[in-house]
C-alpha cells in the first residue's frame, strides 16, 4: 500500500511538471500547445541517447537536456505559434498538432522505433524502510520535481524575468505598454514549458522507457490534468496531476486495498480506471468547467 502511494506520488510529481508547463504557455498565450506531449519524448530520448553514450546518471544529464529543450520549445514557438498568434485559436491547435507529428517522426528517424531506457536520476537501487522497499528513483523523482517547481516559483516571483513573464501572462497589452518585449517573453515561456516536459521525459525514460509513439498519451493526460485542476491555474495543474495519478495507480488497486471489491475485478482494470477518469473529467466539465482551482468561467454568449 505504501508502495502504491509512493508510486502515485512520484507519478504526480512528474505529471505536475507536464501540467504546469502546459498551463504556463496557456496563460501567456491563450493557446493550447498540443505538441507538449512530444516534448516529453524528445527530452526522454535525448536523455537516453546521452546516457548510453556518456554513462552518467540522469541528474548530470539534466542541465543538458533542459538546455536542449529550451531551444526546441523556443523553436516550436517561432514556427507554430508566432505566425498564427492573431488567428483564431483553432489555427494554433492544428499547427501544434503538426509540430508534434514532426517532432515524433524526427525522433523516430533519429533514434529508431525501439523503446529506449535512460539512466536513473541518481541510482536504480532501493532501500528498506520498515519492511517496505522504497525505490531510489521514485524518491528522486519527487525530490527533483519539487526542486524544479520550486525553482520555477522562485524565478516567477523573485526575478525580473519572472515578473515580466507574469505580466505577459496577466495582460499582454498592458505588458507591451510597460515596455516588455512580449514576443521574447512568450518564447521564454515556451522554452520553460519544454524544459519542464523534457525533465519529466528524462524521469519517465528510466522508470517506464520511452518510445517515439508515447507522445499522444502524455498529451491527453496533461490536457485532462490541466482541465480538472483548473484551466489556467498553476496550483490546479498540480491538483490535476494528482487526480490523474490517483486514477492511474490507486483506483486500479482498490480491489487489493479494499478486499470486498475484489469481486468486481473488471470495474477496476486499467482500461476501466481510464474510463472512470474520463467520466470524472466529463462530470467536472459539465458541473464545474473551471476545474478545482480555475477562475469562474463566464457563461458563453
Amino acid at each position: 500500500m505504501i508502495q502504491l502511494l509512493l508510486n502515485a506520488l512520484s507519478l504526480t510529481a512528474a505529471y505536475s511538471l507536464l501540467a504546469m508547463g502546459f498551463v504556463l504557455v496557456l496563460n501567456a498565450t491563450g493557446a493550447v500547445n498540443l505538441a507538449h506531449g512530444s516534448f516529453v519524448i524528445v527530452g526522454g530520448l535525448i536523455a537516453a541517447a546521452l546516457g548510453s553514450w556518456l554513462n552518467l546518471p540522469g541528474a548530470a544529464l539534466l542541465p543538458v537536456v533542459m538546455a536542449g529543450m529550451v531551444l526546441i520549445g523556443g523553436g516550436l514557438a517561432l514556427i507554430a505559434y508566432y505566425p498564427l498568434r492573431d488567428r483564431p485559436a483553432v489555427s494554433v491547435f492544428i499547427s501544434t498538432i503538426s509540430m508534434g507529428a514532426i517532432l515524433e517522426t524526427a525522433s523516430r528517424l533519429l533514434f529508431g522505433p525501439s523503446p529506449r531506457v535512460a539512466p536513473p536520476i541518481i541510482s536504480s537501487g532501493s532501500f528498506q524502510v520498515g519492511g517496505v522497499t522504497v525505490g531510489i528513483q521514485a524518491v528522486s523523482m519527487i525530490v527533483l520535481a519539487v526542486l524544479l517547481v520550486g525553482a520555477q516559483y522562485v524565478i516567477l516571483s523573485r526575478t525580473t524575468l519572472g515578473k515580466r513573464l507574469r505580466a505577459v501572462a496577466e495582460d499582454r497589452e498592458i505588458a507591451t505598454t510597460l515596455g516588455i518585449n512580449v514576443n521574447t517573453m512568450i518564447l521564454v515561456t515556451f522554452g520553460i514549458a519544454a524544459a519542464l516536459a523534457g525533465s519529466a521525459g528524462l524521469m519517465f525514460a528510466n522508470t517506464f522507457y520511452i518510445t517515439p509513439g508515447d507522445g499522444e498519451a502524455y498529451m491527453i493526460k496533461t490536457y485532462v490534468a490541466a482541465t480538472m485542476g483548473g484551466w489556467g491555474s498553476l496550483r490546479g495543474a498540480v491538483a490535476g496531476a494528482l487526480i490523474v495519478s490517483i486514477f492511474e495507480v490507486l483506483v486500479p488497486s482498490l480491489p487489493v486495498v479494499i478486499p470486498v471489491m475484489a469481486g468486481a475485478q473488471s470495474l477496476f482494470s486499467p482500461t476501466a480506471s481510464t474510463i472512470w477518469l474520463y467520466l470524472a473529467f466529463l462530470i467536472v466539465l459539465f458541473f464545474r468547467p473551471q476545474g478545482l482551482f480555475g477562475e469562474a468561467v463566464q457563461q458563453r454568449a
Binding site: L4, R108, S114, Y209
Partner: protein, 374 residues
C-alpha cells in the same frame, strides 16, 4: 580446328543465352508498418525481408518495393490494391498487424495474390482464404507450447495472465486461459493493459494478492520489459513465462541481466550458431547489416520470403504457381521446417528459451515441433 572452335563458341553462346533467358525478374512488394505503434516489429520484418532479397537464389533479379502500411486498418489493403496488378509481382509481403491483414484478405482473394505475413493473431487463417500464408505459428499453436511448458515441464498450474489490449495480446490471452484450464490449471488473475500504459504497480499488486505460481505474459516490447523490470524490482520471485517479444534483443537491451533471471519465453523461432551453414550465414549477415541479432519477426519473414523465392527458382512463374508451391511443398528454413496445414499456417514449431540471469541472450531450453492446436 576452326570448326571445333566455332562449335565451342556456338555451344557456349547458346548456353549463355539460355542462362540469360533463365534469369527471372521479380518485384517483391514489402508492405510493413514503419510508422506507428508497431514500427519496431515492422522494421524487424523489413530487415528480414531485405536480407532474403539479398540472399536470393542465383538467377533471380529481385527488386523490393517497400510501402509503409502505417496505423490505419486499411493501410495494408490500400497498398495491396496498388501493387497487385503489376505484371512482375507474384506474391506480396504483408504486415504483422493482424487487423491490417484481415482487411487485406478480400483484396488478396480478388486479385488471386498470395500474401505472406508473420502474424500470430488467430482469425487470419480462419477465413478460408487460400492466398493467406501465415509465417508465424498461429497463436492457437504457439500458446500450446507456452502452456505445455508451464504445466508439463515447470509443473505450475495457477497462472496470472497479463496482456496488452491489442489484437495480439487479446488473442494470446484467449488461448492461454483456454489451454491452461484444459490442462487442469486455473487462471487466478488476468488483466489487459493498454500499450501506452506505463504505471503498472496497481496491476502487480493485484497479481501478488492473487498468489499465482507463474506469471504468463503476452505483450509488446516496451510493456513486457516494464513488467519484467518492475517484477524484479519489487522482489517478486514468481517465475515469468512470456511471449516472444521478451526474447527479442531490442527488448532484452532495456533490462539488466539480473532482471531477467528466471524469465522464459515462448519464441516462434530461434537461430543458434552452428546449426547449419545457411543459418550461420543468415546470423552473420544479419548482425553485420543491421547491427543486432535478429528477432522472431525478422527470422520468420526471412524464411517465408526465401520459401517464396525458392518457389520461383524452381519454376513458379505466376502468382498461381507460387500459391500452389507454398500450399503443397515443405521448406527447410533457418528456424524450422515450414509446411502448410491446408489452411495457410506454415509454421508449426515453437521453442522455449530461458534467461539464466548472467547474460542478455537467452538459451534454448526446449523445442516443440508439429504442434497441433487443442
Amino acid at each position: 580446328m576452326k570448326a571445333i572452335g566455332a562449335a565451342a563458341f556456338a555451344i557456349s553462346a547458346i548456353y549463355s543465352w539460355s542462362a540469360c533467358a533463365q534469369e527471372v525478374n521479380l518485384t517483391v512488394p514489402i508492405i510493413v508498418p514503419i510508422t506507428g505503434l508497431l514500427a519496431l516489429e515492422g522494421t524487424s520484418q523489413l530487415n528480414g525481408a531485405n536480407l532474403a532479397v539479398a540472399h536470393a537464389p542465383a538467377g533471380l533479379k529481385i527488386k523490393s518495393q517497400v510501402i509503409d502500411s502505417g496505423t490505419a486498418a486499411e493501410g495494408g489493403a490500400n497498398a495491396l490494391e496498388r501493387v497487385a496488378t503489376a505484371k512482375d509481382v507474384d506474391f506480396v509481403v504483408a504486415p504483422l498487424f493482424g487487423t491490417q491483414v484481415l482487411a487485406m484478405l478480400p483484396t488478396a482473394l480478388d486479385y488471386k495474390m498470395p500474401i505472406l505475413a508473420p502474424t500470430g493473431t488467430g482469425p487470419v487463417t480462419e477465413q478460408g482464404n487460400p492466398y493467406m500464408f501465415r509465417l508465424y505459428p498461429n497463436d492457437a499453436i504457439s500458446k500450446v507450447a507456452h502452456i505445455r511448458y508451464v504445466v508439463d515441464d515447470l509443473k505450475l498450474k495457477k497462472a496470472a495472465i497479463l496482456y496488452n489490449t491489442t489484437g495480439y495480446g487479446q488473442s494470446g490471452f484467449k488461448f492461454m486461459s483456454e489451454y491452461i484450464t484444459k490442462l487442469g490449471g486455473e487462471v487466478v488473475f488476468s488483466e489487459g493493459i493498454d500499450l501506452s500504459t506505463k504505471e503498472i504497480s496497481a496491476t502487480l499488486a493485484k497479481v501478488q494478492a492473487a498468489k499465482p505460481d507463474v506469471i504468463l505474459v503476452q505483450m509488446h516490447s516496451a510493456s513486457i520489459a516494464m513488467v519484467v523490470k518492475q517484477i524484479a524490482a519489487s522482489g517478486i520471485k514468481t517465475p515469468v513465462v512470456g511471449n516472444t517479444t521478451i526474447a527479442m534483443p531490442a527488448t532484452a537491451s532495456l533490462l539488466q541481466p539480473s532482471d531477467l533471471k528466471g524469465v522464459c519465453a515462448e519464441s516462434a523461432s530461434w537461430v543458434e550458431k552452428g546449426k547449419s551453414p545457411a543459418s550461420d550465414k543468415f546470423l552473420e549477415d544479419y548482425i553485420a547489416k543491421f547491427g543486432a541479432p535478429p528477432d522472431a519477426y525478422a527470422i520468420q519473414q526471412y524464411d517465408g520470403l526465401m520459401m517464396a523465392l525458392t518457389a520461383v527458382k524452381s519454376g513458379a512463374r505466376s502468382a498461381e504457381d507460387v500459391r500452389k508451391y507454398m500450399s503443397s511443398n515443405s521448406y527447410e528454413g533457418v528456424a524450422m521446417t515450414y509446411k502448410s496445414d491446408g489452411k495457410g499456417n506454415l509454421a508449426h514449431s515453437v521453442v522455449i528459451v530461458c534467461y539464466d540471469g548472467t547474460s542478455l541472450t537467452p538459451k534454448l531450453v526446449k523445442r516443440y515441433d508439429d504442434i497441433a492446436a487443442f
